[in-house]
Amino acid sequence: MSKLVPPIPKFLRPAPPRPGRNGAGGENGDGNDKPGTAVKLRDGAAEGGTQVVGWLDERTGMSPFLRGALYRKVPKGTNWFYTLGSATMFAFVSQAVTGVFLAMYYNPDPLRAYDSAAYITNEVFLGELVRGMHRWGSTVMIVLIFLHLGRTFVFGAYKYPRELNWVIGVLLLVLTLAMGFTGYLLPFDQRSFWATVVGVNINASAPVMGPYLADFLRGGAEFGAVSLSRFYAMHMLLIPGLIAALIGAHLYLVAKLGTTAPPWLKAEKKSLSQEKI
């Protein structure tokens, strides 16, 4: 009978006596000196927390990674400008979340796209807010990514050994601009339609590859029904997937290589280390 019952999880079983307090534990176990209920609960909660974390860590071995990523040392002089990357990522997460919910109502059919977008704004509960956050959030993300790029450039943070992270960052910039371009068409009103027609034709103006690129974007020779669903698929699946993957690589390299000190601290640092020697 007892073999059929699954074992009680470790964190529900009474804790074994701690090695350091062997004697005391034994006394408690005997019931000579029972602690109060409140103390018991508090200790239990503390133990429970540690045990859940311990359970996860035992199975994933994640704590060294997390410690390395979250408790890494940052150079002296780290300031608010260093938060621009995180701010950009937060803008991306906000775009992803609002985008997922907009996709629940949006219809990428050329005859219904405009109406479904209008429906989101006018009818759906909080629709105007969510669409507004997505619409303005896109601008915020582009502003932030440029500020982040500028910070990296001005602080010289792209130099050895961080060149690869610069390259990934530039790819992320291009993909973010592509998000702006593909998303602009989706409301399918006059402005977004003609802006996208002109945008695709700008692509077509590149020598040799241009005409092919424009055909690829439109899904044909003319701007047709396929073009809208194509832009929609790129906007919500292809590009966000690439961005998420590249953000992962970007963050890995940041955690691996650490951040740079602001350029104005370099000289001071050198003289300090020389002093120590």
Binding site: V198, S205, P211, A214, F216, A221, F223
Partner: protein, 197 residues
């Protein structure tokens, strides 16, 4: 040849085949439309013959993309050909010229819609200041070739327009191109036509 080598090679091979099995069709999906004939050969009735004259353009609405609602429609400017005034096209050598001139409103700079202004007898683009003369040839601004045209014919007193075609500065006919693609001089070799045409 080692056992390890065979296993590694096999794993790579089968992984590659499996990836290609979904990757290639997906790629074909994305690139396929580039190789299709995008402009179906359909003739559209745009009005009776007596609606048009050789002196001025009459705007008409035509469908260029099916199933796209309003967005699939475009304005076409039509007038009767004036053999005395219109310049001869090389493509018409030994043939009857097209009976009507049907000008596409798509500016060949970046695709904004142009407007015909009768007072100055010119087409003007609102976006970046492209100006075309009465025949649609470039007169100023950034456009790289004359305005595109449509094939025209007359069937039992009704004017019909067909496929769109592009022209170079001598009104020689080419397959339809995107705006901003050159058709004159050395530039034309940098802008290939669609593979299907």
């Amino acid at each position: 040849m080692t056992r390890r080598g065979v296993m590694t090679g096999g794993a790579l091979l089968y992984g590659g085949i499996a990836s290609a099995a979904f990757g290639l069709p997906a790629l074909g999906f994305a690139l396929g439309p580039m190789f299709e004939d995008g402009t179906p050969d359909v003739w559209q009735d745009v009005g009776a013959e007596d609606e048009f004259n050789p002196e001025t353009y009459v705007p008409k609405v035509a469908n260029i993309v099916a199933d796209l609602g309003e967005a699939g429609k475009t304005t076409v400017y039509l007038r009767r050909l004036d053999p005395g005034r219109d310049s001869k096209s090389k493509s018409d050598k030994g043939k009857e010229p097209l009976p009507y001139v049907a000008i596409s409103t798509r500016c060949v700079h970046l695709g904004c819609p142009v407007r015909y202004i009768q007072a100055s007898q010119r087409f003007v683009c609102p976006c970046h200041g492209g100006v075309y003369d009465f025949e649609g040839k470039v007169e100023g601004g950034p456009p790289v070739r004359p305005l595109d045209r449509f094939y025209t014919r007359v069937t039992t007193g009704r004017v019909e327009i067909g496929e769109r075609f592009s022209v170079n500065s001598e009104l020689e006919r080419f397959s339809p191109r995107d705006p901003s693609n050159h058709l004159d001089g050395l530039w034309q070799y940098l802008y290939p036509s669609r593979p299907s045409t």
